[in-house]
Each structure stands twice: as structure tokens, then as C-alpha cells.
């Protein structure tokens, strides 16, 4: 029974996503302000103008694990950043804690250079594997934050509580740190330690806020529709339970 409900939800979401992306004009979209994304957008602009570097850390989940979603959202954001930031004196640096994610980040950065017609300027070392465990990856990323002339660091992906070490390194180097993760414990840590946190699903909104486009905007709308359906089901279930009907 649960399987069929899941399949139904999946098909419903897919059909709704495609329909909204085709029917709705992207220009009609209105966003609620998210301070973390506003800060990231502003800090990224300053880094390009000031010739400093943006570091984007994608965390370390395997793409075969259930935590791959935030990493894929981070890659989507990296794509937007790569296309706009490769013309900077110091191009963006993508750091991963998992090799396949690092390969994808290199591919994404390379595409950014291709988009501005200068693929020969791409350096493979701008898409790096920092370490293969969460703590070793954090330990290796800390000196990058201080030594790579960075002015902004974005943690977008799956991070645990070790993200506090990165936040402290950013604080010491006066680097703006925007933190987003799918782990509730790490979200609490990043709320206390980052310059501006992204809470919960806000990390999935980053591509739409940065670049717009029919599909990312439709994706946000479908998330809202599904959220209202879940709220209705939860309230209905609670009411039925209260009335001892179920």
C-alpha cells in the first residue's frame, strides 16, 4: 500500500512539474526573501568585483546514498556560479569529500569556462577532493578557506556537525560563510556558527533564486503544493485520531 502511495506521489509530482514548467511564465514568479541566499548573492558579486575567491563545499555523501539530493542541488548552484564567476581573477573553487562528486564538480566548472568561450583556462585542481571522511575533509578545507584568498564560502550539501570547524575557520579569516545541509543537528550547528544559514529546504531554492528558469521555479512551486497536501493530511490524520475514528 505504502509503495503504491509513493509511486502515485512520484507520478503526480512529475506530471505537475512538467505541466507547471511548460505553462507558467518564469517572469511571473515571486520569491519570498531568504536572507542566506541574498547574502550569498551579494557576497558572490563582491568576490567577483574584488578579485577574491568563492569556495563552494559540496560535502561528502556518495551519490548512491540518500543524502545525494543536497549535493545535486549544490552542483546546480555551482553551475550558475561557474558561469558567472569564471571571468574573475580567482575562479570559484569546488571542494568535495567524495571522488565522484569531485568529478562532477570539475565537469561543471569546465562547462562554465566553455560557456564563456575559454575552456583552455580551466584548471582541474579547482574541483578538488579534500578528504574521504567527514573530519578529514573538513580539516583539509579549513586551510583552503584561509589560504586561497577567499571572501565567501558556501557549504551546500550533506554536512555533519564537523561543519562547525569550517565555520570557525571562516570566522578567523573574515570569510562570509553561508551554510546549508540536510542534517538537522548540523543545521543547528550552522545556525549558531555561520554568517547566514539556510534552513531546511531553502538549500534547494538556491538555483531558482540565482538563475530562475522554468524548471527550477516549477520545482519550487511543486514543493509548495506537496507541502500543503502534507499539511492537510497531517491535520486530517490528527483530527481523525482525536475523534477516535482511526
Amino acid at each position: 500500500m505504502t509503495g503504491w502511495v509513493g509511486l502515485g506521489a512520484l507520478l503526480f509530482s512529475t506530471v505537475l512539474l512538467i505541466a507547471i514548467a511548460r505553462l507558467r511564465r518564469p517572469s511571473a514568479a515571486r520569491f519570498r526573501p531568504i536572507s542566506g541566499l541574498t547574502s550569498l548573492y551579494r557576497a558572490f558579486g563582491h568576490s567577483v568585483e574584488g578579485g577574491t575567491r568563492l569556495i563552494i563545499a559540496l560535502g561528502g555523501p556518495s551519490l548512491l546514498s540518500r543524502s545525494a539530493g543536497p549535493a545535486l542541488a549544490g552542483l546546480r548552484l555551482l553551475k550558475e556560479i561557474a558561469q558567472r564567476g569564471t571571468g574573475s581573477d580567482l575562479p570559484p573553487l569546488a571542494v568535495s569529500g567524495e571522488p565522484s562528486l569531485a568529478l562532477l564538480s570539475q565537469d561543471t566548472l569546465h562547462a562554465g569556462y566553455r560557456a564563456i568561450g575559454a575552456p583552455e583556462f580551466f584548471q582541474p585542481v579547482t574541483g578538488r577532493v579534500a578528504g574521504l571522511t567527514p573530519f578529514s575533509s573538513s580539516a583539509a578545507t579549513m586551510p583552503m578557506i584561509s589560504d586561497e584568498q577567499a571572501s565567501v564560502a558556501a557549504l551546500i550539501g550533506h554536512f555533519g556537525v564537523e561543519s562547525a570547524l569550517l565555520a570557525e575557520a571562516a570566522e578567523r579569516s573574515n570569510v562570509v560563510l553561508i551554510g546549508a545541509t540536510d542534517d538537522p543537528a548540523a543545521q543547528a550547528v550552522l545556525y549558531a556558527t555561520s554568517t547566514d544559514p539556510l534552513v531546511g529546504e531553502e538549500l534547494f531554492a538556491a538555483p531558482a533564486y540565482f538563475a530562475g528558469g522554468a524548471m527550477p521555479l516549477a520545482s519550487l512551486t511543486v514543493q509548495d503544493v506537496l507541502r500543503w497536501i502534507i499539511i492537510a493530511v497531517v491535520l486530517l490524520g490528527a483530527a481523525l485520531k482525536l475523534l477516535q475514528i482511526i
Binding site: T14, L64, P124, V129, L165, E168, E171, D182, E201, S219
Partner: protein, 203 residues
């Protein structure tokens, strides 16, 4: 080539997904996942090569902290060579892991307590608003309710405040966050499956 990658990703993803809902496809799902694990293993080697390249570049350019890069490469190569020669189950290799790698990571974990305390102290300086106040007040209440005080426990704190915060507010909030993350993950996955997002080949 681009279309081939797209077709591979879409068909592979859809077959694995279908395996969750239709039992006859379970065997095919496991086969595709096994292939993916082999490819991920090969990617691990490429990742290690990338790590070597990054640190070799740092040593060559005499970047700040390049001596640490040298130590890392020496440790990497020696562990790799001894690991191949002796095997991962060798007591010497196990001792190396238990006396170097595990304590180093544990010490980083210990540093977390200091980092978190420092971060909490700086929170109001960084963001002076209502939610920061609520965050700190909740953290303080939880600590007081969990601590053993010289005069014993404060009854209402340990019997009412802490369970209520933990099981009602925190659990409810965490579930809300996880539902939001799950919805975001679902839509990200669908976009990749239908080819709207292509994390491969820079799409």
C-alpha cells in the same frame, strides 16, 4: 556523446526507481546498483589522483603549508604500498589506523566542543534578533535541565521543560525540516531523471 550520457542516466535511474515498486525488477535494480558501485570505486582512484595532483601543485609552487602537503603525500604512498603488500587485515596496518587516523579524527571531534561554544558566544554579536535569542535561551534551558546541580535536579526542568522541548518542539521542528528536505530531494531527483538537470557534462 551528450545524448548517450542523458539516455544512460535516465534509463538507469528509472530502472533503479522501478525496482523499488515492482518486485520482478528487483534483480535488475541490484545489478545496476552493483555496476554503479564499481564505477564509484574507479572514481575513488581518480579522486585520489586528484588529491595527489592538488598537493603536488602546492609543493611545486611552495605554497603556504606545502610541508604538510609533503607529509600527506608521504603518508598516502607509504600506506598505499604497505596496504597492497600486507593487506588491509594485517595487524600492523590496523595498528597504524588505530593509533594515527582514529585519534587524529577524535581530536578534531573534541575541538568541536570549543568551536561550538565559541560560535554560540559570538551568535548574538553576529545576528542580534529574536530567533537568535530563542536559540540561545533554548540551548541554555536544555543544558540546565540536563546538568546535575550541587543541590540536585530542578524538578520541573527535568520532568517537564526538557521532555517538552525535546519531544514536542525539537522533534516537531526536526520532522518539519526533514519533510522539507525530502520534498526538495524528491524534486531534485525527478529533475535529474527527466534530464532537466544534468550534473554530468556540466549540464
Amino acid at each position: 556523446m551528450y545524448i548517450v550520457a542523458l539516455i544512460f542516466a535516465a534509463i538507469g535511474g528509472l530502472l533503479v526507481l522501478a525496482g523499488y515498486f515492482f518486485a520482478p525488477l528487483g534483480e535488475l535494480q541490484r545489478l545496476i546498483l552493483d555496476w554503479a558501485i564499481i564505477v564509484a570505486g574507479a572514481a575513488m582512484l581518480v579522486g585520489i589522483f586528484n588529491l595527489v595532483l592538488v598537493h603536488a601543485t602546492r609543493i611545486q609552487s611552495r605554497a603556504k603549508g606545502s610541508s604538510y602537503s609533503m607529509i600527506l603525500l608521504l603518508a598516502l604512498f607509504s600506506t598505499f604500498v604497505f596496504g597492497i603488500m600486507l593487506g588491509p587485515d594485517n595487524p600492523g596496518i590496523r595498528r597504524l589506523v588505530n593509533t594515527v587516523v582514529v585519534p587524529a579524527e577524535s581530536s578534531l571531534m573534541a575541538l568541536l566542543a570549543v568551536s561550538l561554544l565559541y560560535g554560540s558566544v559570538r551568535l548574538l554579536q553576529r545576528r542580534l534578533n529574536l530567533m537568535s535569542g530563542v536559540f540561545l535561551a533554548t540551548a541554555a534551558l536544555m543544558l540546565i535541565a540536563s546538568a546535575t546541580l550541587p543541590f540536585g535536579e530542578i524538578g520541573v526542568m527535568s520532568t517537564f521543560v526538557r521532555p517538552w522541548l525535546q519531544h514536542v518542539l525539537a522533534l516537531g521542528g526536526a520532522r518539519g525540516l526533514l519533510i522539507g528536505v525530502a520534498l526538495g530531494t524528491l524534486l531534485t531527483g525527478i529533475r535529474v531523471l527527466i534530464g532537466a538537470d544534468r550534473p554530468y557534462q556540466g549540464g
